[in-house]
Amino acid sequence: MTDFRRVLQSLMDNSVDHVVIGGLAVGLQGSAYRTEDVDIVYARDRPNVERLVAAIKPFKPRLRVRGEPEGIPFIFDVQSVLSGANFTMTTEIGDIDILATVTGLGDYDAVLKYAEHIAVISESKLTPVLSLEGLIISKRAANRAKDLVVIPELESMRELRLMEQTAPDGD
């Protein structure tokens, strides 16, 4: 399993413009579903890609390929990232996926509109995490079995959170 805290800490330390998406976002919102990796969407401007590379490169990323448990070596640098878009990687601290776009939502700027900034690692530096609304939209758009199965829980979570926020205090 990926060392979630180290990945998030490194992204924060390097001031990477990103949003946590996928299973980790689902879990951070409160779902009971498990995840093994970290998925993020990142801003594609060159300065941010430089920061992203600085954040991830120390973990020695390799391309994750089915049938190759150790992954395939590749040069993880700014040029590689700018030449590509989505990278599924295995690293010394687990699997990390960096995506340029999210199905149903779009690129980093679009995803950021659906992000909530929450205190996961630090009370002072908040982590951008895809909201329940954004997760529901993206999972519905992805339309894979593993995405569809979590939607009822996410919709219930959104309903319960809204009720808790709007209900009067006291018994």
């Binding site: 060392d3 979630f4 980790l24 951070l28 409160g30 498990r34």
Partner: protein, 74 residues
Amino acid sequence: MVYCTIGMKDATRKFLHDPPPGSKTRAAIEFGTDLSMTVRNMFVLSPAERLDRLQHGQIDLRSIRRPAQPELKR
């Protein structure tokens, strides 16, 4: 279903224990989703605690209850 409702507003607690037809929560339960851990994650744990829980495993055997095994001993 048993929920940990510590700190939850009364209206939410009542809703959760008898979600009305047509609600998303009723639909999730009918879909087969066990919301007991979800509710605890959402309303009891902080985001940092949720991260720890994800890191160290979501399945708390002491919280699992099955008809043939109503309560696991600690």
